[in-house]
Each structure stands twice: as C-alpha cells, then as structure tokens.
C-alpha cells in the first residue's frame, strides 16, 4: 500500500518537472536558457519516472523482478551521466557557433513571433539552416 503511494508520488513529481521543462522550452526567449530548462528538468523528470517504475516492480519481490529492477537502475544511472553530457555538447556547439544572446532591448522585446525576429537580423544567416 505504501509502495503504491510512493510510486504515485514519484511519477506525479516527475510529471510536474516535465511540465516545467516543456514550459521552459517553449517560452524562454533564448537558446541558452532553453538548454538550461531542457537539460536539468528533463534529466530529473526521467530519473523520477524510472524510479517510480523501479518501485512498482519491487511490489512482487522475486528473483526475475529483482534482475529487471537492477537493469532499470542501470538505465537510471546511465541517463544521469549521459543526458547532461549531451546538453553540454549542444550548448558547446551553440557557443562556438556564436548564437546571439537575448537582450532586453527595444528591438527584441517586441511581441512578434520568432520568425519575424529571425528576419530582423537577430540571427545571422547561416544559423537558420
């Protein structure tokens, strides 16, 4: 019973972090801030979801469920290492390519969408491909 409560709690927290990630990816004005939202929130929400799945597997305690739970723990550990590394690679590529920073100036703080600001000269030509 208490294991069920823990599973529900873990998955709901994971979902909450994933909602935060999605809102961040859609709404943040700049590439660099979106990478922050995606890298951190994504990893944590995946860890919580898979942790909930591990707890759910441990309800019926047997040797094969223990083996499967062990493999899931390996996956959690792997995602904990690999997902921030991928985020680092993305932001390294963006930094070396000199993706422009968002500044709170009159030119950028308009209510237009991304496409219009793309043609305003905010992004250099070769970034858009």
């Amino acid at each position: 019973m208490i294991l069920d409560i823990l599973v529900i709690l873990a998955m709901l927290t994971g979902l909450l972090f994933f909602v935060a990630t999605t809102v961040g990816i859609i709404r943040f004005p700049d590439f660099y801030s979106r990478v922050h939202a995606a890298g951190k929130g994504d990893t944590l929400s995946t860890t919580l979801f898979l942790g909930g799945a591990i707890l759910f597997l441990l309800r019926d305690f047997g040797t094969d469920t223990l083996l499967t739970a062990g493999k899931l723990l390996l996956i959690v550990f792997y995602i904990f290492i690999a997902s921030p590394t991928a985020t680092h690679a993305i932001i390294d590529a963006g930094y070396e390519f000199r993706v422009p920073y968002w500044t709170r100036s009159k030119k950028d703080n308009s209510t237009k969408g991304d496409e219009e600001s793309m043609d305003n000269g905010f992004y250099p030509e070769d970034l858009k491909g």
Binding site: M1, D4, V7, I8, M11, L15, F18, V19, T22, I25, I26, F31, R34, V35, A38, D42, T43, T46, F49, L50, A53, F56, L57, T68, K71, L72, L74, I75, Y78, I79, A82, S83, T85, A86, A89, I90, D92, A93, G94, Y95, E96, F97, R98, V99, P100, Y101, T103, D114, E115, S117, M118, G121, F122, Y123, P124, E125, D126, L127, K128, G129
Partner: protein, 126 residues
C-alpha cells in the same frame, strides 16, 4: 490497488507534453533548437517504453530496448552537435556587436588556412 489507469493517464500526459515539445522542433529558429527538441523527445520516449511495459506487465521484454534507445539517443545528439560545429567553422559571420555572443577567445580552434597557421606561429614565438 489497481494502478493501471494511473499509468495510462501518465503515458497520455507525457505524450501530450511531447507534442508540445515538438513545437520547438518544428519552429525552432535555429537548427540547434531542433537538436534540443530531438534530445528531449528521445529521452521521454525511453520513459514511455518503460511505461508501456509496466502497463502490460512485461517490463522484462522492454528493458533491453530501453537501454539501447537511451544509448542511441545520446549518440545522435552528440553527433548532431559535432556535425553542427564542423559545418559552422568556415562560414563568415555578420558582425553585429550588440547581439552576437562574445568571441570564444584563443581557445577556439583555428581554421587551417595558411594565414591562420602563420598567425599561430607568430603568436607562439616570444
């Protein structure tokens, strides 16, 4: 306690949020925003595969494919970022001082033109 409707609701919720992330893949103003969206979609798909296994009660069938998927998602993201760095190098950039990120300094790799090689030689000699 039957947790199956809960897991189904979770899976549908994650899918709906993945649809919202797809907006960033479709409408990302730069290529690298699309790579970011691809990474998030890939990571969430591994969670969805485990959830499908949990709903059907056969997680041991799906566990190998979950690990393989996570590995390949990682490789795809790193390959895309590295290829993008390669493609970025020879393109001349438009100097807009207030908007362009500051130059990375002397740690950025020099392009292998004769002028750049001569420059680096000149910099090294005291």
């Amino acid at each position: 306690m039957n947790l199956e409707p809960f897991f189904i609701a979770m899976a549908v919720a994650i899918l709906f949020l993945m649809l919202c992330n797809l907006y960033r893949v479709v409408a990302g103003p730069t290529v690298i925003d699309r790579m970011l969206g691809m990474n998030v979609i890939g990571t969430k798909t591994t969670v969805l595969i485990v959830l499908i296994g949990v709903i059907d009660g056969r997680v041991d069938l799906f566990i190998d494919i979950t690990l393989a998927y996570a590995l390949l998602n990682f490789i795809t993201t790193i390959a895309a970022a590295r290829f993008y760095q390669r493609l970025a190098q020879p393109a001349p950039r438009d100097p807009r001082e207030s908007l362009v990120a500051p130059s990375a300094g002397p740690e950025v790799e020099e392009v292998d033109t004769p002028a750049a090689v001569a420059d680096s030689v000149r910099k090294e000699t005291p």
